[in-house]
């Protein structure tokens, strides 16, 4: 048996990504199930398998109950795809939903229950005005202690930003450097919501959303879908483009901002990363490329620190120096990240995994990290309360 996550037990069978698909991110007129079906169609074609080979669906979505008045989305997504009889489960861990779905799908294959599993997610939020989506996203903070105050998601990360600035001297210019870098990357990604570069000046002069975070420190609201085909070693080893799942770990913490011991750090990231690295037999120095959760610019900074890619307090400096740019010592978010590629929350984790798979296959075109062999994905949900970290490698 696998041990509990806290122990970082090893898998019984190796698992690989054999196909990926992502819709264009942005505004769509189709339902989230249709968006997922498009991504899944592309992922199955990429894997060169038919839909009948899929044995289960692990699905992520967050605010469908509010924006689409739709629950029970697993069977719905499978039906729209045309495979209504497979077992399905919807996962909700706020913005980390499809990464949580991914981890459980990996375990289903590792445990020998299935050989081919479809994972992914989709979200539609541009169906409602910003004030309404802001409110729905705030449902991921505590309904007794935080929502009645009018705390928003930018507000949560503003509390982190202010603490990080006070503790480490991180500046608004360093946070802005993250936005400029991710837009530069996103301009190279045809699936990105914003395929245009921005200047430091534009970020610094944009309006405050939740001080010290400004409009251009924040990722957009996004519609989109993403899908991953996972397979057992027996199936994957005949496929030269397979990318191995070397580790996948989850960590949680109190949801309440008042119960965080240090607002300038994210211990969920630190704990999930420690387990994922241990499963993979790798450390932060081995990682060639990372897709991580930059819902706000400060979120990328604290993620690079929590993952051990940079020392605590130096993530802003690293971004400002260009170390996390394509061509830098450790490219972060070559896809453009949530900031520029967009953040359809239920699809985000799967889309990050799709990007790392594409990078490790050497198929990322103008945004390719040359020679990337080991990659990492990091997805954060809610008030820093859920983090998933997965590590990938090619033979």
């Amino acid at each position: 048996m696998m041990e509990s996550d806290g122990e970082g037990g090893s898998y019984m069978r190796r698992v690989a990504v054999i196909g990926v698909g992502v819709t264009k991110f942005g505004k769509h007129e189709r339902s989230s199930a249709e968006l997922f079906a498009e991504a899944a169609r592309d992922a199955l074609a990429d894997a060169d398998i038919g839909p009948a080979a899929v044995q289960a669906l692990y699905y992520g979505n967050v605010v469908g109950g509010e924006t689409e008045k739709q629950l029970h989305m697993g069977p719905q997504a499978a039906s729209v795809l045309g495979i209504p009889t497979i077992p399905t489960t919807r996962f909700e861990t706020a913005c980390a939903s499809s990464h949580a779905a991914f981890r459980h799908a990996v375990m289903e294959i590792a445990a020998g229950v299935s050989d081919i599993v479809l994972v992914g997610g989709a979200e539609r939020v541009l169906t409602v005005p910003t004030a309404e989506s802001t409110e729905y996203f705030a449902y991921a903070s505590d309904a007794t202690w935080e929502q009645p105050l009018g705390l928003t998601f930018p507000g949560v990360f503003a509390l982190v930003a202010r603490a990080h600035m006070a503790k480490y001297g991180t500046t608004e210019e360093q946070m802005a450097a993250v936005a400029v870098k991710n837009h530069r990357h996103g301009a190279l990604n045809p699936k990105a919501q914003f395929q245009k570069e921005i200047t430091l000046e534009q970020v610094l002069t944009s309006a405050y959303v939740a001080d010290p975070l400004k409009l251009y420190d924040c990722c957009p609201f996004t519609d989109g879908g993403a899908a991953i085909v996972l397979a057992s070693e027996e199936i994957a080893r005949r496929r030269p483009r397979a990318v191995w799942v070397l580790g996948s770990a989850a960590a949680s913490d109190s949801m309440l901002m008042q119960e965080k011991k240090d607002l300038a750090r994210v211990p969920t990231t630190e704990r999930a990363a420690a387990v994922a690295y241990r499963q993979a037999g790798l450390g932060p120095a081995d990682i060639d490329v990372a897709e991580l959760h930059d819902c706000f610019t400060i979120a990328e900074i604290v993620a690079t620190e929590g993952l051990g890619l940079f020392e605590p307090g130096t993530g802003g400096f690293a971004a400002e120096k260009g170390w996390t740019s394509l061509g830098g010592k450790l490219p972060v978010n070559p896809s453009g990240g949530l900031k520029s590629k967009g953040h359809p929350i239920g699809a985000t984790g799967a889309a990050q995994i799709a990007e790392i798979t594409t990078q490790l296959r050497g198929e990322a075109g103008p945004r390719q990290v040359e020679g990337a062999r080991f990659g990492l994905t990091h997805t954060l949900g809610g008030n820093l309360a859920t983090v998933l970290v997965s590590v990938f490698g090619r033979d």
Partner: protein
């Protein structure tokens, strides 16, 4: 036999409305918690006693919300702070009666209940 919780959320906000913050202290290891929990996160025991707090603390971090959720649109901009209370626990609340440009980490503040439409929320005003 089931033991009733030593303090429910309803109790907490009833006492808060009267001006008193209430935490719970673990009888085994002395840890303080707010809100209350079934088991002590430090020693996993269940031996809680409610304890009143002074309501005095300092700002640990803060933000000014300018883009508000739908139901708070007319109130923006407003400030929210995590306040480190004197006793060693923290509490998140709305800032009241302090100019937004006077906010700073370390600024002393004092608990002040905000009751509107019969719902009490946590506020902090000048110390």
């Amino acid at each position: 036999m089931t033991n009733p919780p030593v303090i429910t959320l309803k109790n907490f906000f009833e006492r808060a409305r009267e001006g008193t913050l209430t935490a719970v202290r673990c009888g085994k290891c002395g840890a303080l918690a707010m809100p209350p929990k079934e088991f002590c996160p430090m020693c996993q025991q269940r031996d809680w006693t409610p304890v009143p707090l002074t309501g005095d603390g300092t700002i640990a971090s803060y933000t000014v919300i300018r883009v508000a959720p739908a139901r708070f649109l007319t109130e923006a901009p407003y400030a929210i702070a995590v306040v480190a209370l004197r006793e060693g626990v923290s509490l998140i609340g709305r800032i009241v009666d302090i100019p937004l440009d006077a906010l700073a980490i370390g600024l002393p503040v004092r608990f002040r209940p905000i009751t509107r439409d019969n719902q009490t929320t946590v506020g902090f005003g000048p110390a």
